[in-house]
């Protein structure tokens, strides 16, 4: 049924549909509305779960780790510093192959402290072994969480899934979301979690043992293989979801008006909406331009991206994150993917904008496209800098 829902409401409603048994979280802006809605659902008996109010994000992640190791479905949500505080535990959740679903209400990291949106927080977790999916709008945020459990709990995956949802821009925005009416259908799509190994007094195993140098390399190889192989499972999860619920926003990537494009903008998350409006206008004026949405950042769909981009002239990468001391992250990975596959013909220009909640307007996007088409090999240039501010003496 179509409803107007705040992003946080849409997310908590889809979590209710997935029926996790243990939820643990620590409040942090802009994740708060999600955990407030979930607390209310538990308080009203609409969601039968243990909601553990912990004293920190580190413990929130640790609680879901422990509960997940017992074989029950779990959920947590956080943002920014909270995610960085969880980081140590998330590495363990991944290494111990526990299918926890984590929402990140994407927010800038300190310092300077900023409660506003960008993707620097989840990007810092890119090497953790957690799958990272990025939602474009509230509809996708809703659908993606249910798919996240399906992916995480696949016996061949057994990894945490981080669902990235732009803080405020999505979490605090009301818009039309088509929700699922019958929980039975979700149960059909998402059968009860059945873990091969768990903490069970009738079948005891030891988890989290120490690995000597003779073992560790292989253990990490297996982890690496598992996340790489999860691509097909992410695709299947999206396709099955489409069959059952009729909704599809892409699986790993999603091309938009790319058929005859010679310029393609690559981006992730909520900024895609604004970009689509600009591209539609440019299309009307005859410009051959398209968009490539990256929906799965980890595993990184390198083959799929290269296939989509190999015949175009210009790829413009727009990202709300920076690798300090390097530059663009997405742009770097795309350039690497093209180079590795010997595709040298695409001019890749990467730009960083919108950090710390700086608003991205259609005019920004338009100006950026006009500028990018005249440039070559830009690697993570900051776009939209206020030069007066840069040199200001306060």
């Amino acid at each position: 049924m179509k409803k107007v829902l705040e992003g946080s409401m849409a997310i908590s409603d889809s979590i209710r549909m997935a029926e996790p048994k243990v939820i643990s979280a620590y409040p942090i802006t802009p994740q708060t509305h999600i955990v407030e809605h979930l607390s209310q659902m538990v308080a009203d008996g609409d969601l039968k779960a243990e909601y553990i109010m912990v004293e920190s994000e580190h413990s929130a992640a640790s609680v879901v780790l422990g509960a997940s190791a017992c074989g029950v479905r779990t959920y947590t949500a956080t943002a920014a510093q909270g995610l960085l505080y969880m980081e140590e535990v998330i590495y363990n959740i991944a290494g111990m192959r526990l299918p926890v679903v984590i929402t990140v209400a994407n927010r800038a990291v300190s310092a300077p402290i900023s409660i506003w949106n960008d993707m620097q927080d989840s990007m810092a977790l890119r090497d953790s072994g957690a799958i990272q999916l990025v939602a474009e709008n509230n509809q996708e945020a809703y659908d993606m969480h249910i798919q996240a459990y399906k992916i995480a709990e696949n016996p061949d995956v057994m990894l945490p899934v981080i669902v990235c949802v732009d803080g405020f821009v999505l979490t605090h925005t009301f818009e039309v979301v088509d929700t699922i009416d019958h929980i039975e259908k979700v149960r059909e799509y998402l059968p009860p979690l059945n873990m091969q190994y768990k903490l069970d007094v009738n079948d005891p195993f030891s988890f989290g043992t120490i690995a000597e140098p003779s073992v560790y390399l292989e253990a990490r190889y297996n982890l690496s293989t598992a996340i790489n192989n999860s691509k097909s499972i992410i695709i299947n999860a999206a396709n099955e979801y489409k069959e059952m619920f009729g909704k599809y926003e892409g699986a790993l990537i999603d091309p938009y008006k790319m058929d005859d494009a010679d310029t393609v903008i690559v981006a992730m998350g909520s900024v895609l909406g604004t970009i689509k409006d600009v591209v539609d206008e440019l299309r009307e004026s005859g410009k051959k331009i398209g968009i490539l949405k990256v929906r799965s950042f980890r595993p990184f769909p390198a083959d799929e991206i290269v296939n989509a981009l190999k015949n175009i002239k210009n790829a413009i990468i727009i990202e709300k994150a920076v690798s300090l001391g390097k530059g663009g992250i997405l742009s770097c990975e795309i350039r690497d993917a093209l180079y590795q596959r010997k595709v040298y013909s695409v001019n890749v220009n990467g730009y960083i904008l919108g950090l710390g909640g700086r608003d991205i307007t259609p005019k920004n996007i338009y100006d950026l496209i006009m500028k990018a088409e005249k440039e070559e090999n830009i690697d993570g240039e900051f776009f939209g800098l206020n030069n007066e501010m840069l040199n200001k003496v306060f």
Partner: protein, 302 residues
Amino acid sequence: MLTNMLTKEDTHKQLFTMGHTGCSGCAQSMAVKLIMEVLGKNTIATSATGCLEVFSAKFPESSWNIPWIHSLFENSAAVASGIEAALQITGKKEGITVLSQAGDGGTADIGLQALSGMFERNHDVLYVCYDNGAYMNTGYQRSGLTPYDAFTSTSPSGKISYGNNRPKKYMPEIAMAHRIPYTAVASAGYPMDLQKKVKKTMSIKGSKYLQVDVPCTPGWKYEPRYSVKIAQLGVQSGLYPLFEAEYDKIISVKKISKKVPVEEYLKLQGRFKHLFKDEAGKAEIEKIQKIADENIERYGLL
């Protein structure tokens, strides 16, 4: 806890089994063995990073014949909270003990926040702190539970130092301040007392804190055969008071049967040998005696 007859086969079926790589004479492994004997097989355990975790679970080996999990250094209590919550919501908690374990560093230093959270939420978990008074796993660095004047590699004695210059943190009282239903202090030197306390925790719902004094042969620098003797002297000198508390009230203490001067305790351990070199060292020993006397007074140990 023992039956009249124990066979070799029986010993191989212990819940915390031999084959671990703990040091010869390790009092911690003794305590774990004693605790597991009482708790039985319907136990799910967590361990913080530390000696116990490293020597008991080196892949693909494990000394644990129960479900056991290690995650990190500071989150044993939080992981145990999650396990307890999962058991509660799935209706499997009845008859199962959740045991959360850490060393003194994992309890009183880096793990204190998560432990406090677990206490505050009063999870039905038995938390055991194996107190060997320093970070032994990483080579004897000082922790918040290192006793006054003890030599550790980060609180060394030196030309102007007599070792650790801060008194041992009163961790059991921090636990009691949370008004959890049961707090107890035990010692590897008194196994029956230890097992009696563990047994008691099994009938109490909510958070239980048990701190066990476990001498460490390489860290305290003594011959392995003295582990029990030193633990007993710790108690008999008044430096390691054993007691039980319900909520914030102490309900029983283990009386000192034969009071010994702290010197008897200190002189067996290399970590205190710098106190026996000169006159100033004697003054330090007197300070330690004062700590013991205050304990005796405070807890009514005589």
